[in-house]
């Protein structure tokens, strides 16, 4: 059933009280509580963390039970990895793979606004001013990436009266000889690792071509792409 239809059906019933429940990540609970207090919102708050879920702020007369529930499911899936207020480093976590995806497709141009739509699911809900602010933040992220390690691969082109700001893809491992392509992408991983501040800048398996690469280059690949022993 469509959510809107479901809500309408519940609203029409006298014996069912529909209340809003705020839902968030457990790690953001204190921020959420502070914001709700600041905006004088009195509503239940459900937060889900790595090992459990907590429901608080339930009125005594409510049929909901304030409770804590343990689970072994790990952190909840990040269906919305960022929002419009997320810090620049979290935005960068999504912008870098989006640019790499454009390289893999051999796109020549990526519009900053298209990038905003791609990384922020609620983009279309934002007002013009909020969109402008978020676009400026993404703009800043891509400009810094292009000025850094990715300079040989991407060029940032500021907006003009005639065009929106955009990124021009200058080079891509996808265009190189297929035999050297994995090494090209792995080099891009190392650049990304530095840009994203990872502690493991080099993946162990990337130090040398694998036996499979060697076998394929020599025409020795097995039927399923596995070298015969």
């Amino acid at each position: 059933m469509q959510p809107a239809r479901f809500l309408r059906r519940l609203r029409d019933r006298d014996d069912t009280r529909v209340i809003a429940v705020f839902v968030g990540n457990e790690t953001h609970r204190s921020d959420l509580e502070a914001s709700m207090t600041q905006h004088r919102i009195q509503a239940p708050l459900l937060t889900v963390g790595r090992d459990g879920a907590r429901l608080t702020g339930v009125e005594p007369s409510s049929t909901l039970d304030a409770s804590e529930l343990a689970h072994q499911g790990g952190l909840p899936p990040a269906r919305f990895p960022i929002d419009q207020l997320s810090p620049a480093e979290e935005i960068r976590e999504l912008v870098v793979p989006s640019l790499v995806a454009a390289q893999a497709r051999q796109d020549e141009i990526v519009d900053v606004e298209a990038l905003c739509r791609e990384v922020l699911p609620e983009w279309s809900l934002l007002g013009k001013e909020a969109q402008r602010e978020f676009r400026a933040r993404v703009d800043d992220v891509v400009r810094r990436l292009a000025e850094g390690d990715f300079g040989a691969h991407f060029r940032y082109e500021p907006g003009t009266k005639a065009s929106q700001p955009r990124i021009r893809v200058l080079d891509t491992p996808a265009a190189s000889d297929p035999r050297g392509t994995p090494q090209g992408w792995q080099a891009q991983q190392r650049r990304a690792a530095r840009a994203l501040g990872r502690q493991r800048p080099q993946i162990e398996g990337q130090l040398a071509p694998s036996l499979e690469d060697l076998a394929q280059a020599g025409g020795l690949g097995g039927e399923e792409g596995v070298p015969d022993e």
Partner: protein
């Protein structure tokens, strides 16, 4: 050369080639060999899902491969090289079929170096449940499992094996092996072979998990029928994956943002023994996974990556701990990306890996 021929003439010509009849040798300027037909099930993204779109993509592929592209009939094309002919059936504009009587290594080379490197063309990635459905009386199967990329090299009794079973109902024997906990995760179904008899017509076909099919016998019509139905099942599978697992958001006046789609969750019967090694293998940018990503540990033994399927240039997110893998598909990410992951997890990590809705 008089290449224009309708679909039924094409089927008759291929049947003649299977039967080593002289008429086949004259067809296509002597480019048809006799004996066997090699086929590939492919998934393509032409610029538009129409005959014109398929033609444009095929033209690019043909130019790159130095082949001459000729239309034979509606949605049936010939790509002609100096010594061989390749036929592309694009009746389904997204799920194509390639047929050729060329040597297996020649077909493999065309697919590997000219077709697949294009981000708009991918193989069909058949999971075990679709290989099980491959038609005919099963007389042969292969289990070819290798987990070198994803698990430590010691402590696994069957880290790598290649097993071929011939005889009646070979799947029963594979099931028996899978029943042993020691080998359960390794007993992948990599390829199957069947015999089909219809009156006086008899064909044999073998298909593997990468959508490769080789066939021989007396009737290409029988073979084409099997391949068409196999392709149809694959299409339904990929569309089901997209329908269930693409995560979409739509603005809605009544509820703000409407969220659809499920997170794809692999609950692993075989737990990941060494997470960092597994991640190194998965995101090595190499075949078979061809995934790009820079994983980060967000909690003890829980990792996440905003990854890129390098084959099609689509983003996807993976969240991984020793007991499960979650995949969050983008709104536009192709279901074939998930199909590739499922098939390769079965061949390289755990033969039992499966998504509930996809089985």
């Amino acid at each position: 050369m008089g290449l224009a021929m309708d679909r039924s003439d094409f089927i008759a010509t291929m049947t003649a080639a299977l039967n080593a009849e002289p008429s086949a040798e004259a067809a296509f300027g002597g480019r048809l060999r006799t004996g066997q037909v090699k086929s590939r099930l492919l998934e393509a993204h032409p610029p538009e899902l129409s005959a014109e779109g398929c033609s444009a993509l095929l033209k690019t592929v043909a130019d790159r491969a130095g082949l001459e592209l000729q239309a034979l009939d509606d949605d049936l094309w010939a790509l002609l090289g100096p010594g061989d002919a390749f036929f592309m059936d694009t009746a389904n504009a997204r799920f194509w079929q390639l047929h050729s009587t060329a040597r297996a290594d020649v077909v493999e080379s065309l697919v590997k170096t000219r077709l697949i490197p294009d981000h708009r063309v991918d193989s069909a990635w058949m999971p075990a449940h679709l290989l099980h459905k491959f038609e005919g009386t099963r007389t042969w199967l292969r289990s070819s499992f290798t987990s070198d990329q994803l698990v430590p090299t010691d402590g696994d009794p069957a880290r790598r094996w290649r097993m071929q079973l011939e005889g009646d109902a070979p799947e029963e024997l594979l099931k028996l092996i899978r029943g042993n906990p020691r080998y359960a995760s390794n007993a992948s179904l990599t390829a199957v072979g069947s015999t089909i008899v219809d009156g006086h017509r008899r064909v044999q076909l073998a298909a593997n998990f990468q959508g490769k099919v080789i066939s021989q016998g007396t009737s290409f019509e029988l073979i084409a029928g099997v391949l068409w139905r196999t392709g149809k099942r694959y299409e339904q599978y990929v569309r089901a994956l997209e329908s269930r697992y693409r995560l979409t958001t739509q603005p809605s006046d009544s509820v703000g943002l409407r969220i659809d789609g499920d997170v794809a969750l692999f609950e692993l019967e075989r737990h990941i023994p060494d997470l960092e090694l597994f991640l190194d293998g998965l995101f090595s940018c190499r075949e078979p996974f061809r995934l790009w990503g820079v994983p980060r540990e967000v909690a003890f033994e829980q990792w996440e990556t905003n990854a890129v399927d390098l084959h099609v240039g689509q983003p996807l997110r993976l969240e991984i701990n020793p007991c499960w893998i979650r995949v969050l598909l983008d709104e536009h990410t192709c279901g074939n990306t998930l199909a590739r992951l499922i098939a390769n997890l079965q061949q390289h990590f755990d033969a039992r890996a499966e998504l509930p809705a996809a089985a």
